[in-house]
């Protein structure tokens, strides 16, 4: 599904990712954990094609296709999705209008308005959102929790093949976390893969990962099953730095 090899990324001259490699198979949920500054958000932005980052080396393949030269919208149409940590506000554009435009731009054939309406209602119900929410302007004045729910709502509407979730759990209370997790689990199946990027193990209680990777200083330093997340919770990132810090700097 997703294959990243020897990825080197710079922003404003500083190297953030230093030879990162990762393979995500079809239907798999991967968690990438790491301390602040390890390059987690850079990875999610680069995967989706943010123009501010310079990829200096390496490859990113999605379903066997090299996506490195593709714009974000082209990647979205292939089935990639990024749940943003800090989604932008777009004043004057309602959530419903945005969802309609987005869904129709990734689909080959436009969805009939009534069907669209029904779909929005259905997905909002899963996310336990008030129907009035659809008329609010996109992310404007949203609380942190509302923004994250709105991200997952978009994911449910767009039905991507691969979702990258950039610290979707940060700043969420336990109720919101459960709702967000429910949204992700809704899509879980043989055709859906996800990369959950997080600082904490907490979200992994609700979305059980198949694989856990630890990221440090721009690369993945160790991988394992879901137990790795628990070990990390017990021992903390200092343990990772001691164990793998020297390797990361070599």
């Amino acid at each position: 599904m997703l294959k990243i090899d020897n990825l080197h990324v710079e922003i404003e001259g500083g190297e953030i990712l230093k030879g990162l490699g990762l393979e995500v198979g079809k239907g798999e949920i991967h968690a990438i954990m790491g301390p602040n500054g390890s390059g987690k958000s850079t990875l999610s932005n680069v995967l989706m094609g943010h123009p501010r980052y310079d990829v200096t080396d390496g490859t990113i393949e999605f379903m066997g296709e090299d996506v490195m030269e593709l714009e974000a919208d082209e990647r979205a149409r292939l089935g990639m999705f990024l749940a943003f940590q800090y989604p932008s506000e777009v004043p004057g554009v309602s959530v419903a209008n945005f969802l309609r435009t987005a869904v129709n731009s990734v689909r080959e054939k436009e969805l009939a308005p009534m069907e669209m309406y029904r779909l929005i209602q259905e997905k909002m119900k899963i996310m336990q959102m008030d129907p009035k929410f659809a008329e609010r302007y996109l992310n404007e004045g949203f609380s942190g929790g509302e923004k994250k729910r709105n991200e997952i709502l978009q994911m449910l509407m767009l039905e991507p093949k691969l979702a990258i979730m950039d610290e979707t759990d940060s700043g969420l209370d336990i109720d919101a976390l459960q709702v967000v997790s429910k949204g992700v689990n809704e899509l879980r199946g043989p055709e859906f893969s996800a990369v959950i990027i997080t600082h904490y193990q907490r979200i992994l209680r609700y979305i059980e990962p198949d694989h856990v990777h630890v990221m440090l200083d721009g690369r993945i330093v160790t991988s394992g099953g879901k137990d790795l997340a628990l070990t990390l919770e017990d021992k903390g990132y200092d343990w990772v730095r001691q164990e793998f810090g020297s390797a990361a700097q070599s």
Binding site: N45, M48, G49, H50, P51, R52, E71, A72, D73, R75, A76, R77, F81, L82, F84, P87, S88, E89, V90, P91, G92, V93, F98, T101, A102, S105, V106, Y137, L138, Q154, L158
Partner: protein, 470 residues
């Protein structure tokens, strides 16, 4: 026709509404430029009363005496001697659709007027060249005593009303361009709404310039008598021509006590048009006047709709949106004068600049001594789509009264890389993403327009932006 060639050379694609009919005129002034002889010729051709001729000649003198304004936009390429000041395309005014000649119908068809007719958008007054050729007014309005006709007919059929109010809100010598309009005006709308009459469906007029080097000087006067309500809508598109065109209108509104006038305009001039318009309204006791003003296209627009709040409790509102693309300058804003107690006003101005486009907000808020308890709020927001785009704000505020409440807020925003990335990550192309941000930006104004005009405004802005993504 020589014009055909030059238009070909220009490339019609550049301006979607740049189609153009054979110029088959019924009457046109024998030469370009303006002098008393030309003015007299226009007046004679229209069989006007003597007082109007005198009014025109006096205005002409004022126009000639006044220097070209040096503030605002660059008018140095505007050559007053290279313009035909009056062209009349056909002999009589069309009363029904069937009376309208085919080539004019074609033009309207391209602009979607027949649809508007079919959708029973009610009274359509359309200006073609210097003359209104097509007018229809719903029966019930006639019965209610509502007058909606072109200004020339208004002068003929309601001379007393016209004489009483014409030029009282905007005197001929108010500024150089109001003087020019007063000297050579032709067409425009005359509206009178009797006391207590509410017109629920907007009155609509379409304007169109269709002659090279021809200025369009329409003159509109709307009188809303006590307790009445009217919404007047005007939309304009102009075809592309090789040399500079001038559009200089004068619009006067009078809202008598408890009356409400809403005047909505979407203007989309071709990119070589100078659009220099004077618009002013008086709101008497407890009356409301609202200007909704969309400015697209043109080379330079200078337009500052004004509301004079002369009666206690009067309210004025100005909503304006401007789009300045490559090489364009939109110098727009609003002017509110509080001259009575407990009056209130709101100016909302939004501008979008792209490429080398420049938009200027120029506004005046004046509160006279004694206008106690007045409230005013000015909000101007600029959106820049490019590094080279430019915006300036000149908010003049003169307050002579202490017991008032005024607020001013100005913001400048850019379409950010992160914002675009966010929208594109959901499958929108760069162009669609920018259009979405822009449509969201103007939403507060679009939602004040009837649906079909809101759609038209969004569509026009999209057309203007098409192909300009770098």
């Amino acid at each position: 026709m020589p014009e055909d060639k030059s238009i070909q050379e220009l490339g019609l694609e550049e301006y979607k509404y740049g189609f153009h009919d054979p110029e088959d005129y019924f009457f046109r002034t024998p030469r370009k430029g303006i002098d008393p002889e030309i003015v007299a010729m226009i007046s004679k051709h229209k069989n006007e009363p003597e007082w109007m001729l005198e009014y025109r000649l006096k205005a002409l003198q004022s126009f000639l005496d006044r220097p070209t304004p040096q503030w605002g936009g660059d008018l140095s390429d505007l050559d007053f001697d290279e313009i035909y000041y009056y062209i009349r395309p056909m002999e009589n005014q069309g009363r029904t659709w069937d009376d309208v000649p085919d080539d004019i119908k074609n033009t309207f068809e391209k602009l979607g007027i027949p649809q508007a007719e079919r959708d029973s958008l009610a009274g359509v007054g359309a200006q073609y060249e210097s003359e209104v050729v097509y007018h229809s007014l719903k029966e019930e309005w006639n019965k209610a005593g509502v007058v909606f006709m072109d200004m020339d007919s208004g002068l003929r059929e309601h001379e007393d009303l016209v004489r009483e109010y014409f030029g009282t809100i905007i005197p001929a010598d108010d500024n150089k361009f109001s003087a020019l309009n007063s000297a050579v005006w032709s067409g425009g709308s005359f509206v009178y709404v009797p006391p207590g009459v509410h017109i629920d469906i907007p009155l609509q007029a379409y304007f169109r310039i269709n002659a090279e080097n021809m200025g369009q000087f329409e003159r509109t006067l709307i009188i809303a008598d006590e307790g009445s309500y009217v919404h007047y809508i005007e939309g304009c598109t102009a075809p592309t021509y090789t040399s500079n065109s001038l559009h200089s209108a004068v619009v006067e509104l009078i809202a008598k006590p408890n009356a409400r006038i809403r005047y909505s305009t979407i203007q989309n001039w071709s990119h070589n048009t100078y659009n220099l318009v004077t618009k002013r309204a008086v709101a008497q006791k407890n009356a409301t006047v609202e200007w909704v003003d969309g400015n697209l296209g043109s080379k330079l627009t200078m337009k500052y709709p004004a509301v004079y709040l002369t009666g206690e409790g009067a309210r004025g509102e100005i909503l304006s949106v401007a789009y300045a693309g490559d090489g364009q300058h939109q110098d727009a804003g609003g002017k509110i004068v509080h001259a009575a107690p407990n009056t209130s006003s709101l100016i909302t101005s939004k501008s979008i600049s792209r490429g080398t486009g420049r938009s200027t907000y120029r506004g005046l808020l004046k509160v006279h001594e004694g206008a106690v308890g007045s409230k005013s709020r000015v909000e101007c927001d600029a959106l820049l789509l490019d590094e080279n785009a430019r915006t300036d704000t000149y908010p003049y505020i003169e307050i002579e009264e202490k017991k008032v409440n005024t607020e001013h807020e100005a913001t400048v925003s850019k379409v950010g890389e992160d914002q675009l990335f966010y929208l594109m990550s959901r499958g929108l192309s760069e162009e669609e993403a920018i259009a979405m941000v822009v449509n969201g930006f103007i939403e507060p104004i679009a939602k004040e327009l009837p649906l079909e005009y809101a759609i038209e405004l969004n569509r026009l802005i999209q057309l203007e932006m098409e192909g300009s993504v770098g």
